[in-house]
């Protein structure tokens, strides 16, 4: 069934079960994209060092409505003799957790997870994630881990730059703009609660789990950074019409 689906990536600026307890809107959205009633969902907690508490929270959030599994690259998984390559390629959705994007990329490359994910993407397995799990899909990303923010090469499935947690951390905008003036690729920024949904390499729509969450197209044009707010579709119940007219 996966073979009928186009390649899709949903990149959360922040949000989902690990950041928005009690607000399942973004997680519901990615599950719905699979088109399967009880989808197979695999969690990749690599960026957190396969933190136990994070894996537990994933199962709590997903095992009720999906066939939930995870792949650990740090600990042996008892009772799971099959290689991760095989297990990843039979999923409907692969969900990448947050943490350190550099540590995630290093570990993935050491195990060849990057190649398996490229295959999964082409097969139409929906790929999603937040924070480090958003940045990883892009070509050119801002790493804030170690000293001043610097550019890091991501997997490059999406040939753009990406910044996350965009409104909650004002420094992110400043560093993103500065790096863009130094040659960073044009790209997309998303705030906590906003998610960029790509079909193939094209942005299909922007959805959000919070009415105020925003996402932006950020580009270098004629010697300056131009930031354009993107139309965002709030996934929750529509707000009363009076507030819409108020502006």
């Amino acid at each position: 069934m996966s073979s009928q689906r186009p390649p899709q990536i949903v990149a959360f600026g922040g949000g989902g079960f690990s950041m928005e307890a009690g607000n399942p809107l973004l997680d519901d959205y990615v599950l719905s994209l699979t088109g399967v009633e009880r989808p197979r969902v695999c969690f990749l907690p690599t960026a957190s060092g396969d933190a136990d508490h994070y894996i537990t929270r994933f199962y709590r959030a997903f095992s009720g409505r999906a066939l939930a599994t995870h792949v650990s690259l740090f600990r042996e998984e008892r009772g799971e003799p099959r290689p991760f390559q095989e297990r990843l390629l039979e999923q409907d959705l692969i969900y990448v957790g947050g943490g350190s994007v550099s540590s995630l990329l290093g570990t993935w490359r050491a195990h060849g997870v990057d190649e398996v994910l490229a295959e999964a993407w082409e097969l139409g397995i929906v790929l999603c994630g937040l924070s480090a799990g958003s940045l990883c899909w892009f070509a050119d990303i801002v790493s804030k881990f170690n000293g001043p923010p610097r550019r890091v090469a991501g997997l490059g499935f999406l040939p753009y730059s990406n910044a996350v947690h965009y409104d909650s951390d004002p420094q992110r905008r400043t560093s993103y703009h500065r790096l863009m003036s130094e040659g960073m690729l044009d790209g997309y920024a998303a705030a906590d609660g906003a998610a960029l949904h790509f079909v193939g390499r094209d942005l299909e729509r922007v959805v959000s789990s919070r009415p105020q969450a925003r996402a932006y197209r950020v580009a270098w044009q004629r010697g300056r950074v131009v930031e354009t707010e993107l139309e965002t579709h709030y996934l929750g119940a529509a707000e009363p019409s009076s507030t819409a007219v108020a502006a």
Partner: protein, 248 residues
């Protein structure tokens, strides 16, 4: 260390205290790198439980959980007297270190005289290579190569490693080197093995050559240090720390 130390045998700090005896500074700076296991809280707590009451000052460097902090890795690592690396997946650890540039920084630290230590993956990483189980079955893996020769760990605790190691050395996939039991520490100075010590009676280590020759090393059993008398906090340092705490 072929195994042992505070992460594996928290009730037996003999090797951990042995490391302190190698440090000259009165108030040595101790850094723990739990990268190979993904920085689990349990290891971090055991590090603090082991060293917080000693004269050393303790720091843990997480490569997973400090996201967004302004941190100069080079400055932090080069300020240490001891870098202690935990066990786990050697393949993951080296890949992550490379991504953060830590492989280069650790080499500089070594050249400047920082004592580098660790168990399992955290021991083999300093050598040209070792045997990892990161992919399930034991397989040869390259290390940072600060020490010539190779190392295989847990010879007694994980007996499936040693045959793979012997074979890799015989075929030349790994240079000749050493195989160590859990609880054994090999001390190298200027890239030369100077002592083998152990925290457990009967724990051994051997030199293994490409032609199959194996020579047992003389291993000196360390005193069983069950308290911190080996390295108490000097009175003036204790007073200074209390003052610092009081100032907040």
């Amino acid at each position: 260390m072929g195994g042992g130390g505070f992460t594996m045998e928290p009730g037996n700090p003999a090797l951990d205290h042995f490391l302190l005896t190698l440090l000259e500074r009165r108030e040595p700076r101790l850094l723990f790198l739990p990268t190979a296991s993904g920085d689990p809280q349990e290891q971090v707590q055991r590090f603090h439980a082991c060293y917080d009451g000693t004269a050393g000052t303790t720091t843990v460097l997480s490569l997973f959980r400090l996201h967004g902090q302004d941190l100069d890795l080079e400055e932090l690592v080069l300020a240490q007297d001891l870098v202690y690396v935990g066990g786990g997946s050697m393949r993951n650890m080296l890949a992550i270190w490379r991504e953060h540039g830590l492989d280069r920084i650790l080499r500089t630290a070594y050249e400047r005289g920082t004592v580098l230590a660790g168990l399992s993956a955290g021991a083999m990483c300093w050598f040209a290579g070792g045997v990892t189980k990161s992919g399930g079955a034991p397989a040869p893996v390259r290390g940072l190569g600060l020490l010539e020769g190779s190392l295989s760990v847990h010879s007694d605790g994980e007996p499936d490693r040693l045959p793979v190691y012997r074979e890799a050395v015989r075929r030349g996939e790994l240079p000749p080197g050493w195989a160590a039991d859990d609880g054994v520490g090999l001390l190298f100075e200027d890239e030369t093995l100077v002592r083998a010590v152990s925290s457990r009676p009967g724990a051994g280590a051997a030199r293994i050559e490409a032609d199959g020759t194996e020579t047992e090393l003389d291993v000196v059993e360390l005193p069983r240090a069950t308290d911190r008398r080996l390295r108490p906090v000097p009175h003036d340092i204790a007073e200074f720390r209390a003052l610092r705490r009081a100032r907040g």
